[in-house]
Amino acid sequence: MRVLLVLPLAIPLATGVVALLLRRFRGAQRAVSVLGAAGLLAATVAVLTQGQVEGIVAAQMGGWAAPYGITLAADALSAGLLVATALVLLATMVYAVFGMDAERERFGFYPLTFLLVLGVNGAFITGDLFNLYVWFEVLLIASFVLLVLGNERLQLDGAIKYVGINLISSVAFLVALGLFYGQTGTLNMADAAGKVQAAGLSGTPMEAALVSLFIVAFGIKAGIFPLFFWLPASYHTPPAPVAAVFAGLLTKVGLYAMVRVFPLVFGAPTGYTQVVLLVAAGLTMIAGVLGALVERDVQRLLAFLVVTAMGYVLMGLAFYTELGLTGTVFYMVQDVVVKGTLFLLAGLMQQATGARRLGQMGGLYLKRPFLALLFFTPFFSLAGFPPFPGFWGKLTLLQAGFQAGQGWLVAIALAVGLVTLLVVAQVFSVAFWRDGPAEKAETPAVPRATRWATTAPVAGLVALLLALGLWAQPLYDLSAQAAVGLMNPEAYIQAVLGS
């Protein structure tokens, strides 16, 4: 059943192409998109279950054995992220069918989203460094176009910064690839693990420099300090479903790349890169939460909190222990869903009040009690409040921090959690509790059916998150399994290269 691993690429590609061809037929386009997303979810769940049965699933593209062709491989980490991605995609598609404007639908919202997911999934399962670059570019150009789709002034403005900075990341990746190939002669990650040793790179400044270049290339995408500026500059400009896909997936791809490449190819981090990662993790958390504290545009506030979450995820990688990586994987996977939920929720809040800024919202507690109910799980999960899923990720990371003897970073993480709590309380207080401004005449009345149809996918995600918080063991097991695999990559290498 090696063909199974091709489905996470084939389904979004096919759906994207079909949707592109059907773009003049709104109904058909929508139906294809929802079906495609559902199919992708089924396929990714199949990949996950097969991985649980067989271990790491690998497929050699075109029948060319590694390291000569391109290999696809999915371990627990990849499979978990694939499923989370498909979930967010499905929810977003259902939301978009009822909540997206016709112009954006006509100009390719659905095909672009699926091609974006093609890039994301490709990045999650490729075993080849240059192929990773290609998928990065696929998701990048898709995100560029999705970001400007609408040509609103703010969108163009945000896109300038987003495009400008992310193109630099692509070039950094290319340079890193060129240098890396020039030392090892290979592009296959599993093969490279041995070649780095063979080339005598381990522990040299060259290795540290290569890792640094990769940190820049992936770090810009991941939105870590001090490379994240593009993120709060742009994530608030597109409509909520687009932002939900962005926030759920894009930064995770950058961090996934770090988690995949660093342990596998370079082994344990040297002093220099570890210090860089630790400090970057701490500053990323702080920088994000400080921005969120003073931001009043809900979507932009959430964008800052995307940055903060990346700090947490990076923290576990920087510890480079099994527990730390478990925390990283757990946090990353649940954060895909949390961030997707949050941005869709922000969309619902905007829909209900006709406002983007907290000060102009208000009264949601009475006007939309169900929305108020949905608020708690994703937002308090963000603050690491139990029993929501973010708590378990944070707990694992904190424990790993103490074990690794990095108490100072644990202290920062706890303090950042407190500030996040304050931010969440502010949002709830102002947008939900406080009476809204006098009813604006031009607030468009949203039809009841639209209201419920857009709320339903969010409710589904929230229910899932709640279940994940109350019964964290399955995801924890998956994360632990992934972490063991990351720390001991022999199984991955064997699955890719064969015996």
């Binding site: 100009f107 240059f130 703010l154 400080l290």
Partner: protein, 822 residues
């Protein structure tokens, strides 16, 4: 026990439905309170029946939850847990019924019950949890429920501010506690309290060297973090301020959460961990001073206020301080006093809060000076309130008297430090005595004031039942302490000390020092009450309150504001909105980070040997590229710049051609030409290069750019010095024909070996085309016309002249956006 907790959560989930149904049947939903109260009442009975078993030994239950983290759904019902479980369910049942009357007809009653029951479940879970992470989960849930309940009157800003204050203070404490619990786990290797207890008691108990935990180097941190968690939750100075503010919530909430149960979670935490963390000098010297100070200060602060709920809130803080202090002392008598006073306080304070709620509800004000003569109008409320107040005052034959006696005995038996403790206790109890009379006696006697806006009358049964039952409870237990002492209190005190100390409570202890102190307390307290009317508004009292009651809260709010203001400036600096600033930071970071890897190891970078020596035309080409780049940088004219760009591009194509890459050269030529055409097309519609004035920024950018260039060159030299393993490449080349049937190896790689890359490449191109199309064709959806006044340029904001000035780039040639020029 899991089912007990879960049943409450389940009830919380269906409470809105119950309320809705009852409401439809009529009666303003008052009956809903009675129905919902059945569950906590039933659980009270259930826990009561567990008492004999618990006295024999703790009941334990456990099932896996997150085994990977060592976290279990483990429960542990010992004497301490049972005592609190009884308070939570017993008082809880009364409060649930009470709230049905208090909030009858309120349109958010259903939500209120959900939140109240959520709290009840969390609180019950907290006191019976064995696993400390489970404990923490419930601990935080109580904070969350408290946040929602304090903010119940969410239309008022005061409520929202108070709710936020409570959430941030207790939530912050919770995070500190989490740190402490994780460190505790570091030391003991377990999250189960029962296992820690076994570890500690088998490891030699409280010897000179201390136990496993107290002798650990991390003990100081653990103690500090746990104490921050407990002190914030239990409103110890200087974190006390959130509790009086929390009185903004409805009275049932104040009675239940902020007096009888939640605020005792911190005390419970300390009691729970005292066998593990206690018995050290650090423990005593942390808890006793903080507790004593809190006790004295808040007891006196209570006399400053005229609002019944404020007085009650401060006396609650006082009792919390007392309990913390007694835990700090840690002698058997002190623990005896602590468990006794916990019950004493829960009974009288619950009753008094409900009484205050009744008065507020039926008389329309809580201002003591406006109230008077209510005893005839509200006889049952009066009866309950008076009984409770007398217990609070510590008068015989009430349970409060016994409680106070034991406290004094604990002080007397505390050795040398006991005098300080004793003095503080008396000082606090004098004020408490006066406060009790102010709250529970004054509103009912004296003149009826005319200022009342409504005609006071007795509250409905659901509302007088609570005060009467709890007030009477204080009297009954005062007369018959044997009902609870060996059954409930002794097991609780044993659990705190992890050893058995039997005691019997008695109303009459004979003529001893404690009785003398009690009499002195009554005399001084009576005098204080007599002078209260002038005292509460006196100048020293005002200053005292300004400094210690309002002060810390104001410092907190100011601190928050300052913090936010600081964040605003930091963020504005960081996220300035200027692409140039972002790029300087990012590019500078790249140079530093990558270059930093070589710091101190620069000898590793050298001109690589073993390369083919250059030919003259290659050098010419290199010079041409460098020159073109220089021109592109210096060019004032944009056409010169793109011309230079093309020269560089074509020269690079030549490099490809010379070094065996004809396909690459062809592609580079084609792409370079296309780029040139595109640039010329676009440029025709764009303004000239603006002239940038020379400034320090040029130098800065030059340094960054030069740094990056140098780093790249050095990196490449360093990398070129090593050999290249061409085995992969060789395999691809040598099998290109045999296996893939192609002569051009590069083509074979693209379409066969690495076809997936090419698929991605095509996708990218397709989407780029789609993007260009959407950019040019899709009308702006924000309805903005092209070329509005530029933002942040006020001088151009008015006047049609600005608009015509903005037309200098003609719109011809490129496909136009179809957007209407509104």
């Amino acid at each position: 026990m899991l089912w007990a907790v879960l049943s409450i959560f389940a009830l919380a989930a269906v409470a809105p439905v119950v309320v809705g149904v009852v409401h439809r049947l009529g009666g303003g939903g008052r009956a809903a309170g009675w129905i919902l109260a059945l569950l906590p009442a039933g659980l009270f009975a259930y826990f009561l029946r567990q008492a004999p078993a618990v006295a024999e030994g703790a009941i334990q239950q456990s099932m896996p939850w997150v085994p990977g983290l060592g976290v279990e759904l483990a429960f542990y019902l010992d004497g301490l847990g049972l005592l609190f479980a009884l308070l939570i369910t017993g008082i809880g049942a009364l409060i649930v019924a009470y709230a049905g009357g208090y909030l009858a007809g309120h349109d958010q009653l259903g939500r209120f019950y959900s939140q109240l029951l959520l709290f009840m479940g969390a609180m019950l879970g907290l006191v019976v949890a064995d696993d400390l992470i489970l404990f923490f989960v419930f601990f935080e849930l109580t904070s969350l429920a408290s946040y929602l309940l304090i903010g119940f009157y969410h239309g008022e800003e005061g409520s929202r501010v108070a709710a936020r204050k409570a959430l941030v203070v207790t939530g912050g404490g919770g995070l500190a506690l989490l740190g402490g619990l994780l460190l505790l786990h570091q030391v003991t290797g377990t999250f189960q309290f029962s296992e820690m207890l076994a570890m500690v008691s088998s490891g030699g108990g409280h010897g000179e060297s201390g136990n496993l935990v107290t002798s650990s180097p991390l003990y100081g941190w653990i103690l500090a973090l746990v104490c921050v968690g407990a002190f914030t939750k239990s409103a110890q100075f200087p974190f006390h301020f959130w509790l009086p503010a929390a009185m903004a919530g409805p009275t049932p909430v104040s009675a239940y959460l902020h007096s009888a149960t939640m605020v005792k979670a911190g005390v419970f935490l300390l009691a729970r961990l005292s066998p593990i963390l206690g018995g050290t000098a650090a423990w005593a010297w942390t808890l006793v001073p903080v507790g004593a100070f809190t006790m004295v200060v808040s007891a006196w602060l209570g006399l400053r206020f005229r609002d019944l709920k404020q007085v009650l809130a401060y006396t609650t803080v006082m009792v919390l301080g007392l309990l913390v202090m007694l835990l700090g002392i840690g002698t058997p008598t002190a623990i005896e006093a602590m468990v006794t006073f916990t019950v004493v306080h829960a009974l009288y304070k619950g009753a008094l809060f409900m009484m205050a709620g009744n008065i507020d509800h039926e008389a329309g004000t809580r201002d003591v000076l406006e109230l008077g003569g209510l005893r005839g109008k509200m006889p049952l409320t009066f009866a309950g309130g008076l009984l409770a107040a007398l217990s609070m005052a510590g008068l015989p034959p009430f349970f409060g008297f016994i409680g106070k006696e034991v406290v004094y005995e604990a002080g007397l038996g505390a050795g040398a430090s006991g005098y300080g403790v004793l003095a503080a206790s008396v000082l606090a109890n004098v004020a408490l005595f006066a406060g009790a009379l102010v709250v529970g006696v004054k509103p009912f006697f004296g003149e009826r004031r005319a200022a009342l806006t409504m005609e006071p009358h007795e509250a409905p049964p659901s509302m007088w039942l609570g005060p009467v039952v709890l007030g009477a409870g204080g009297l009954v237990l005062g007369g018959m302490p044997e009902l609870v002492d060996t059954r409930v209190l002794v097991p609780a005190s044993d659990a705190i000390q992890a050893s058995h100390h039997s005691f019997h409570l008695k109303l009459w202890h004979g003529f001893n020092a404690a009785l003398g102190l009690s009499l002195a307390t009554f005399a001084l307290g009576g005098a204080l009450y007599y002078r209260w009317r002038t005292l509460h508004a006196s100048r020293p009292m005002k200053r005292f309150a300004a400094a210690l009651a309002a002060g810390p809260g104001r410092v907190f709010e100011r601190g928050l504001y300052r913090g936010v203001r600081g964040s605003y400036h930091v963020t504005r600096l960081m996220q300035s909105g200027k692409l140039g600033v972002y790029l300087v930071v990012i590019l500078g970071f790249i140079a530093l980070l990558v270059g930093g890897a070589f710091v101190g190891r620069l000898e590793l970078v050298a001109w690589p040997d073993g390369m083919a020596s250059p030919r003259y035309y290659e050098v010419t080409l290199a010079v041409a590229i460098v020159a073109a780049a220089a021109v592109a940088v210096r060019a004032r004219s944009r056409f010169v710049a793109i011309l230079a760009l093309s020269v560089a591009g074509y020269s690079i194509a030549m490099v490809y051609l010379f070094f065996g890459a004809p396909d690459l050269a062809m592609t580079q030529f084609a792409v370079e030409t296309l780029t040139l055409v595109l640039l010329v097309l676009v440029l025709a519609n764009l303004p000239r290069f603006s002239f940038e004035k020379a400034s320090w920024k040029h130098a800065r950018d030059g340094v960054v750019a030069g740094g990056v260039g140098a780093v790249v060159t050095l990196l490449m030299w360093s990398g070129l010095g090593r050999g290249l393993d061409r085995s992969v490449s060789r395999y691809l080349s040598e099998n290109a024909y045999d296996l893939a049937k192609g002569h051009n190896i590069v083509n074979v790689i693209l379409v066969d070996y690495r076809a997936l890359d090419t698929l991605g490449e095509i996708t990218v191109l397709t989407m780029a085309a789609l993007g260009v199309y959407a950019l040019m064709r899709l009308p702006p959806l924000d309805g903005e016309s092209d070329r509005p006044e530029p933002p942040g340029a006020p001088e151009e904001a008015g006047g049609p002249g600005a608009a015509s000035d903005g037309q200098r780039g003609s719109k011809a040639q490129l496909p136009q956006a179809a957007g209407p020029n509104r």
